[in-house]
C-alpha cells in the first residue's frame, strides 16, 4: 500500500532519501531516469499517464466553467480565461497567421492549454511532475504541427511547395543545391525535432534541478537536525533549498514561456505554409 501511494503521489523524495549519499555535496539518484520513468500503478498505466488525463481534465473543466454560460460582462474568472484564450486567438492565431488563423485557432488553443497545464504540473504542489518532460507529449504535438503545416503547404501550393523548398528560386542558382538541402532538412527534420526537444529538454532540466535541489535541501536539513551530519552540512542544505525555491519561481516562468514558444512556433510554421513564398 505504501509503495502504491508513493507511486501515486510521486516518489522523488522517497527515492532521493533512500539513495542519498550524505557525504556528497548533492544527493543524486544512481540513475536519474528514475526521476522521469515512473513505475506502473496498474497495468501499463503509471503516474505520468494519470497526470496526462488530469491535465486534460483540468483544461476541459476550466474552459467549461469559464465558457459554459458566458456573460457579456465577464466576472473575474471568465475575464482571466478570456484573456488567455483571447491572447492565443488574437496574438498567436490571427496575429501570426492572419485572418485565416481562426481556422487553426482550436488546435493552437489546445496545444497551448495542454502544454501550459502539463508544464505547470512541474511547480504544482503534490504533483511536482511536468508531463511534458516525457517525450510522448512533445513528440506527438510536434508531429501534429508537422503534419498540419505540411498538409497545408501541399494543399495550398501543390508541387511548388516541395519545389521551392528543394530548389528555392529566391537564391542564386549556384547556391540552390546547398540552400535546398538545408531547407529540406529544416522543413522535414529540424523543425519538428527542435520543436519537440526544446519543450522536452527545458522541462527535463527544470524538473531535475528542482527535484535535486529541494530534495537535497530537505534531506540535509533533516539530517543536520537529526545529528547525522554537521551543522555546516545543514547550512548547505538551507542554501540548496533556497536555491531550489529560486529555481521554482524561474520554472514558473519557463512553464508559461515554453507553452507560449511551442504554440508560437507552431503558428509561425503554419503561417509559412499558408503564405508560402511570400
Amino acid at each position: 500500500m505504501d509503495q502504491l501511494a508513493s507511486r501515486f503521489f510521486g516518489n522523488t523524495f522517497v527515492l532521493a532519501a533512500e539513495e542519498c549519499d550524505l557525504t556528497q555535496p548533492v544527493c543524486v539518484p544512481e540513475d536519474f531516469t528514475e526521476l522521469f520513468v515512473l513505475p506502473n500503478i496498474f497495468g501499463q498505466v503509471n503516474r505520468t499517464i494519470l497526470l496526462m488525463f488530469l491535465a486534460a481534465l483540468i483544461v476541459v473543466v476550466v474552459l467549461w466553467a469559464a465558457l459554459r454560460k458566458p456573460k457579456l460582462v465577464p466576472g473575474k474568472f471568465q475575464a482571466a480565461i478570456e484573456a488567455l484564450v483571447g491572447f492565443v486567438r488574437d496574438e498567436i492565431a490571427v496575429g501570426i497567421i492572419g485572418p485565416e488563423g481562426v481556422k487553426y485557432f482550436p488546435y493552437l488553443l489546445s496545444i497551448f492549454m495542454f502544454i501550459l497545464v502539463g508544464n505547470l504540473f512541474e511547480v504544482t504542489p503534490a504533483i511536482n511532475f511536468p508531463i511534458t518532460s516525457r517525450m510522448a507529449i512533445p513528440a506527438f504535438l510536434a508531429l501534429c504541427t508537422y503534419f498540419i503545416y505540411l498538409v497545408t503547404g501541399f494543399a495550398r501550393h501543390k508541387f511548388t511547395y516541395l519545389k521551392e523548398i528543394v530548389w528555392p528560386s529566391y537564391v542564386p542558382i549556384a547556391l540552390r543545391p546547398l540552400v535546398g538541402i538545408i531547407e529540406l532538412a529544416q522543413y522535414f527534420v529540424i523543425r519538428p525535432f527542435s520543436l519537440a526537444v526544446r519543450l522536452f529538454a527545458n522541462l527535463v532540466a527544470g524538473h531535475t534541478m528542482l527535484s535535486l535541489l529541494l530534495a537535497t535541501g530537505i534531506i540535509f536539513i533533516g539530517a543536520a537536525i537529526g545529528g547525522e551530519v554537521s551543522i555546516l552540512k545543514g547550512g548547505a542544505g538551507i542554501l540548496w533549498f533556497a536555491m531550489g525555491l529560486l529555481i521554482f519561481l524561474f520554472e514558473l516562468l519557463v512553464s508559461v514561456l515554453q507553452a507560449y514558444i511551442f504554440t508560437l512556433l507552431s503558428a509561425v510554421y503554419i503561417e509559412d505554409a499558408v503564405h508560402f513564398g511570400h
Partner: protein, 178 residues
C-alpha cells in the same frame, strides 16, 4: 558535483532513453490531447467566437444608443436654451412694455393734473376778474350816486338822475383813460 556526471554515465545513456517515448505514455498522451482538442474544437472555440461576436454587437449597439442619447440630449439642451432665451426676451419685452405704459400713464396723469391746475387757476382768475369788475362797477355806481347826491344837496334840487349818471360815467371813463 562529480557524482552528477558519474550518475549520468552509470545510467548507460539514460538521456537517450528519455528521448524515445514509451508506447503506453504515447497512447495516454494522444488520448488526453484528443480529449482536449475535441472539447476545444467542438465547444470552447465556437463558444469563444460566439461570445466575442455577441459582445462586439452589444458594444456596437450600446455605442450607437449612447450616440443617439447624446444627440437627443444635445438637441434637448439646444431647445431649452432657445426657450430660455425666448422667455428672457419675452420678460424683457414685458418689462419694457410695462415701463412704457407706466411712462405714458405718468405723463397722462401729470398732464391731466397740470391741465386741471391750469383750469382751476384760470377759473379763479376769471372769478377774481369778475369780482373785481363787479366791485368796480359797484364802486363806480356808488361814486356816481354819491356825486349826484352831493350835487343835489349843493344845488338844492333834484337833478335829472339819468343824465347826471351818464355824465358821471363819462367822467369816470375819462379819468380811467387818463
Amino acid at each position: 558535483m562529480n557524482s552528477w556526471y558519474l550518475a549520468a554515465e552509470e545510467s548507460g545513456g539514460g538521456g537517450l532513453d528519455l528521448l524515445l517515448p514509451p508506447l503506453p505514455e504515447l497512447i495516454g498522451g494522444i488520448i488526453a490531447f484528443a480529449i482536449v482538442f475535441i472539447f476545444i474544437w467542438k465547444f470552447a472555440s465556437p463558444a469563444i467566437n460566439r461570445l466575442l461576436e455577441q459582445r462586439q454587437s452589444a458594444i456596437a449597439g450600446q455605442l450607437a444608443e449612447a450616440e443617439k442619447a447624446k444627440a437627443e440630449a444635445e438637441s434637448l439642451l439646444a431647445d431649452y436654451r432657445a426657450q430660455l432665451a425666448e422667455a428672457r426676451e419675452q420678460a424683457n419685452q414685458i418689462i419694457e412694455e410695462a415701463r412704457n405704459q407706466a411712462e405714458t400713464m405718468k405723463n397722462e396723469i401729470v398732464s391731466r393734473a397740470e391741465q386741471q391746475a391750469a383750469e382751476i387757476v384760470a377759473k379763479a382768475r376769471e372769478e377774481a376778474q369778475a369780482e373785481r369788475a363787479r366791485a368796480l362797477a359797484e364802486a363806480r355806481r356808488e361814486v356816481a350816486n354819491l356825486s349826484i347826491d352831493l350835487a343835489e344837496r349843493v344845488v338844492g334840487e333834484a337833478l335829472d338822475r339819468e343824465a347826471q349818471l351818464g355824465l358821471v360815467e363819462r367822467y369816470i371813463a375819462e379819468l380811467e383813460s387818463k
